[in-house]
Amino acid sequence: MSASMNYLDGNAAAGELSKVFAVDITSAEGQCANCGAKKRFAEAHLYMQCPGLIARCPLCGHVLLRCSNIRGRVFLDLRGMTYLSVESAPQEASN
């Protein structure tokens, strides 16, 4: 298997990112700051072989998000995305 297959996807980052985000991050839509692709965060390619997490655009490979835990603080770098959008009334109960 090639090293280029050594990634997971945004689903695997959702538990860690729930420390920061109050809503489900996997169904959030983000736009890549490099190629402009608009994708759900679940579709990002996720690399975990490094300290912390790196999510890359599945189309162009640009780094979308970096997240690391350093001395009890979570550092989040989101500059690889033009925007991240979530439902403003997330999943309201239907009953």
Partner: protein
């Protein structure tokens, strides 16, 4: 009811093992009860955290296998990896009555909701069957008529999870159509030699693209990439294919 799960802030909870059941020689299902469990949607996963006496901790993600219910009980199925840090403990050491730290439910994208009525194509590679089984069970428990098909790629007959239950479900008026694809060894009556999934298998084992199914593909990364490419080549709409990848080793995280 299902939707309320996502409103809860995700926090670590203590789960108690209430039953264990071996699926194969290397995979075990753990039934857990979780206090104040908010309920889940089929396809979601949990993170499990093990902490050693010296404070070292390891976190792994495991898909929930059971259908949503209201009794605070969930099941996960764990494949034991020879050099795994967490899976040998979960599949060999952990006993009924033991506690486990767990965070979830997690994920709102790779899910099947009971109000979905369109045809569903499930494509599993190895232990990627687990979240798809939750969808199949959720469909059954909800009395849904959504047309379901499963293409299940697995090493050999002995590596199949949930075999009897899948058989029973597919016997019930073909309520879920199951196609097995064996990669290393086949049963005696298999019409196809062992091999990776290919275009011919996609053609016979999945819904035609004109039915516009929603597809859920789960397995090791290389499997997911291959299966997704084959579905797209067969005319499936890329926007209707949802994927969840395990690591090359099958152990997530």
């Amino acid at each position: 009811m299902e939707g309320t799960a996502v409103l809860e802030r995700v926090t670590w909870r203590v789960a108690k093992v209430v039953a264990v059941h071996d699926e194969t020689a290397t995979a075990r299902t753990l039934a857990l009860t979780v206090r104040d469990w908010p309920g889940q949607i089929a396809g979601q996963h949990v993170d499990v955290r093990l902490t050693a006496p010296d404070g070292y901790s390891a976190v792994r993600s495991y898909s929930i296998a059971s259908a949503p219910n209201s009794d605070g009980r969930i099941e996960i199925t764990v494949e034991r990896l020879p050099n795994g840090e967490v899976s040998p403990y979960l599949t060999k050491e952990l006993m009924v009555g033991d506690d486990l730290e767990l965070r979830g439910p997690i994920g709102g994208w790779f899910v099947w909701r009971r109000d979905q009525t369109e045809p569903v194509q499930l494509v599993a590679g190895g232990s990627g069957i687990v979240p798809l089984m939750a969808m199949i069970r959720s469909r059954a428990s909800a009395g849904s008529f959504a047309p379901f098909r499963l293409l299940y790629s697995v090493r050999e007959p002995g590596a199949v999870f949930y075999r009897d239950e899948l058989q029973a479900l597919s016997d019930q008026n073909n309520s879920v159509i199951v196609t097995y694809a064996y990669t290393r060894a086949t049963p005696k009556d298999s019409p196809r030699p062992p091999g990776r999934i290919d275009a011919a298998l996609i053609a016979t084992g999945t819904w035609p693209s004109n039915l516009a199914p929603t597809s859920y593909v789960c397995g090791p990364t290389s499997f997911v990439e291959r299966a997704t490419d084959l579905l797209i080549a067969a005319g499936q709409d890329r926007e209707r294919i949802r994927t969840e990848r395990f690591g090359a080793t099958g152990e997530r995280k």
